[in-house]
Every structure is written in structure tokens, then in C-alpha cells.
């Protein structure tokens, strides 16, 4: 992961158990944000549209885009809500 700065990625909750998962490439979703496919603005919208157009059953409920940044080779979601989703409750 050589890049740094702002990126976008696709996330949602896995249908069968609700676990937050991250889009990791065609047909792949991972519960680890480190596996997430990093997308530029236009590619992100296209990726989401493609996922939403897939036929049922889809493994993930209501996928959406989030902002994140790369710092020290780690993906860090921009919002506290998404950091808590990615890394768990703070208590």
C-alpha cells in the first residue's frame, strides 16, 4: 500500500450476520478494512452502482461509499462512526 491521502471505499453489513464488510474486488467482501479496495471518486461511484445492480441474493445489505485516508500504510475511515464500525466499540 504505497499510496497516501484521501480515498473512498465501499462498505456494508453482511446479510447473514450483520458484520461490517468491505468491498475487496469482484465477488470479494472482507471483514478487515485492510483488505478494502481503494477507489478514486469516479471509480467508487461506478463500483457501487455495479454492486447495486447485482441480482439477488447479494451477500451484503445496502452497500455505501465512505471516505477514508491512508496514514502510515493503514486505512483510517474519515468519520468516527465508520472507525467504530471498522475497529469495534470503544468501550
Amino acid at each position: 500500500m504505497a499510496q497516501s491521502g484521501p480515498v473512498r471505499l465501499v462498505t456494508g453489513n453482511r446479510l447473514r450476520d450483520g458484520v461490517p464488510v468491505y468491498y475487496a474486488g469482484p465477488g470479494r467482501w472482507s471483514p478487515a478494512i485492510a483488505d478494502a479496495r481503494l477507489l478514486a471518486e469516479e471509480a467508487a461511484a461506478a463500483a457501487l452502482a455495479a454492486l447495486e445492480a447485482e441480482t439477488l441474493p447479494r451477500p451484503v445489505v445496502a452497500p455505501y461509499l465512505i471516505d477514508a485516508e491512508i496514514a502510515s500504510d493503514r486505512i483510517r475511515p474519515a468519520s468516527l462512526r465508520e472507525r467504530i464500525r471498522a475497529f469495534g466499540p470503544t468501550v
Binding site: N13, L15, R16, D17, G18, V19, P20, T55, L56, P57, R58, V61, A62, A78, S79, L80, R81, I84, R85, G88, P89, T90, V91
Partner: protein, 559 residues
Amino acid sequence: MYRYDAFDQRFLEERVAQYRDQVRRRLAGQLSEEEFKPLRLMNGLYLQLHAYMLRIAIPYGTLAPEQMRMLAHVARRYDKGWGHFTTRTNCQFNWIKLEETPDILADLATVQLHAIQTSGNSFRNTTADPWAGAAADEIEDPRPYCEIIRQWSTLHPEFSFLPRKFKIAVSAAKEADRAAVKVHDIGLYLRRDEAGDVGFEVLVGGGLGRTPILAETVRDFLPKRHLLSYLEAILRVYNQHGRRDNLYKSRIKILVQHLGVARMREAVEAEWAAIDKAALALTDDTIADFARHFAPPDLAPVPEADAAFAAALASDKQFARWVEHNTARHKVPGHAIVTLSLKPYGRPPGDCTAEQMDLVADLAEDYSQCEIRLTHEQNIVLPHVCRSDLWALWCRLGPAGLATANIGLVTDIIACPGLDYCSLASARSIPIAERLSRHLAAREDDIGELKIKISGCINACGHHHVGHIGILGVDKNGEEFYQITLGGSADQDAALGSIIGPAVPSAEVTNAIDRLIEVYLSQRVAGERFNDTYRRIGAAPFKAALYAPRPAREPAYAA
């Protein structure tokens, strides 16, 4: 307590089978999320930040030991070993898998528990005085009426598409409101008229959320035989005139505010006049049938003087402190109403482990006539304990982490799950509660009765509007800030708190609360609780202390 008959039980089992098929079709891709969501919500299943959350109804907060053990079983087998008791006296599990929910509901149904109507625009769990049947100051036990309301309001065909959710609370007496009646869509106080007959004072249009309003009385005295027809009249007015075009204006409180209570009363009375009251009338026999399920336990009066009990009080200060804060006088002499605190210092309010649930079930069997209650303040009540058993009971609490002696004190904090779990939240609640609890524990006896209530968003599940000190989490440009209100109360002196000023950043909340408490401690006169002092001296001294100039290196409050 109330036991289902064969019809109820069969209905519940059929409902589980129906839900099992719905989940199967969802997992197989035959139902979209859009189609499935209303179906899962009808069964109390939400999708939160980390997993599904299942909210189980605990009707009027009353649980039998085997039901509590079933909650422990669900916690162990399907969750991470604990559950969370809420301000609606429900039980929530935060780490649920959709694919396991049909099995969970089937397990719950074996002890007559379910999650029906714990979500959606329906009647939610009717709440009651947790001291029902035990308090000396009650007019009558409210639970038979709660059960009548539960049966009337469960899957009521006319009211299955209300403008918004609908919450009813019943208090055993107006002078001692332990059910937060005035912040409910409909609140009922049991009372007597001049002739000595028992009925209800009926209040309408209370609620918290983004538009907090206290309910107002629409009828001073309703004979109890007319309870259902009058409720039906209120619901018909709401169903017809409540707004469905705007989510934020859809609760009955907005309708009452819009019409004014006088016109609301006229509308309800007109509707009631047109209703066939005989069809819904509660005969004395019907009420007696329900009351039989809640017959008072056969407690023999015990002399108040008990040498062993007095010796235990004298020999163990921690026990004496617990008796002082966590027990209340029972209507039968020599017995006590015991509250078990779910507010251990520095830990999340309302959480309960499977081991604790099992212990509470055992204690209820051993000492409390097999009765358990939940409170809207997120604690557990054992309502019928002989005073001579208190020492033995208390000795079993400490090792389980259930002996915290802080009921009604500043560390007995209400908090919603907040942003650590909830997809609606704007900010975290639990870490604020934990910090305040740790910080204030050493001084709680000196501070006395002070109720802090924390919500992580404007929906107010943590009842912040009615906290003596209310704390509301808000998101300011991605940072957590907390708005503070003072002077609220959910009791018989119900009041909505007033916002004291600009919100404070997360790191400053403990300091801010400290400053407010210092004002109280320095200004109080003998016997005054926090709210008494606040009402006497007003907000200005508190505001001045909170927003006094600060050393330059401390962060400023948000404008």
C-alpha cells in the same frame, strides 16, 4: 404473573414459523432488503453498526426466573455473553446473526417471550411502576391493566399502521410516579374519585426526542371499566389526524400541541361518545380474572425489630450503605423492595452478563417470591424480600458485581448505547457515563440524589431531557460535543431540562459536570437535592461557573 393460554402460545409458535420462512427466503435471495426490513422490524430485529440487534419485549418490566434464565441462554449461545436493559424495560442483544434469529425466537417462545412490536409504528412495550404490588403508596397494582392493554394493543388491526410508534405507561399512583408517565404518548395514573372508586387520570401527548413535551391531562377520572374504549377513542383521533407526511411531526404530542389540549380533549370525548362502550367494557369479572395472575404473594408481617439484621447493619458499613440506598419499604411490614444496580462504577449502564442474569433468577426464587422487575432507570428490582434475608442476599451480590450501592445517586446514570453500537447515534454515550461514574463515585454520598441521563442523539433514548443533569451527544463537524440541560425530572415533579449554553467537547464533559456540582454543593441549604437548589437559585450561577474564563491551554467550548 400472567401466563399465556393455549391460544396465545400457539399464536406465538405460528409467528416464529412464519418468521423462519421469511428469513429463509431472505437468505435465499427471494426477498430484497426493502421487502424484508419491515418483516424483521415487526420481530424486533434491527441492523446496527456491528451486527443485528434483537430487542425483546419485557411486558411492563416483569420477568419470571425462567424467563431471565432464557435471556441468559440467548446471551451465551447467540451473543457475546451479555445483554442490555433499556429505558423501555426491554432487553437488547447487540451481536446477533440474522441466520440464528428464528432459533432465538423459538427459544424465547418456550418461556412466552417475544420481540413483537418492539419496533415499527406500533404500540411499544407498555411500562409500569417497577414496585407494583409491593409499594405502600400504590392505589392498586397497575399490572393487570398493563396486561389488558398489552392484549388489546398487540396486533390491533385498526392500529397496525399508526403515524408513528406509540408508548403507554401506567403508574400505581400520581403522588409517586416511578414510571415516567408524563413523557409518554398516553400516561395513566391510577387514582380514586371522591366516592372511593378506582379509575385513571388520563394524560396524552408526552414524549422526548427532538421535541420534548410533557403530557397533559385529558380526563381527570376515567372509571376503569372504560379503559379500553377511552384508549381506543384517543387512538382513533390520532390515527385519523396524526401526521404521516413528516416523520418529525408524526407523534401524538405534535397533534396535541397543534390542537391544544382543550380541542384534543373535545375530539377524544366526541369520538368516545360515538364508540360502543359496552363492547369494550371491562366487567368486574374480567378485571378480577386478570388480577388473579398478579395476586399478591402471601407475605406474613414480620416485626420490624430484628436483632440479627440490626447487628449486620452495625457490623458492616458496606451492607448498611447498600440497605440505605438500594432497599425501600414494602407495604408488608418487615419486608423490603430491593433494587439491584446495573451501574457498577466505570462500566456501561444497563449491561448484564449471562452469569448475572442466572444469579438474579436464583435470587428471585430464593428470596423474592419468584418475581423480577426491570426499571426504566436500567436497574433490576426484587420486589418482595424479607428483611431478615437481606444479609444473605447481599452476600451473594458482591462476587457477581451486583452489590453497587448507588440507586438514585449520581453514578446511577441512564445512558443509551450511543455511537458505540447504534446506527442512529451522533456521539458516544457509554464512555461519558463511564468517565463520570468513575470520577464521581467517591463523592456520591455527599452529592446525594442527582440523576444524570445521557443520550447519544436527539432521539433521546437516554431520557436526557428529564435528567436533573441531561447530556446530549451532538456531532459538530465530525467532533463529539455534548449539550447540557439542567432541571429535568421524570418523577411526579416532571419537568423538562433547560439547555444551559453552548455544547462542550467530549474531553471537557467531566470538568463541566464537576463545575455544576460544585455550584450545587456550595449553594445548597439543608435537605436540598440538586434539582431543589437549581429551582431555587435558577440557571445563572450554574451557567456562570460552567462558562467562567478558563486557563489558556484548556480548550474553549464550541460556539
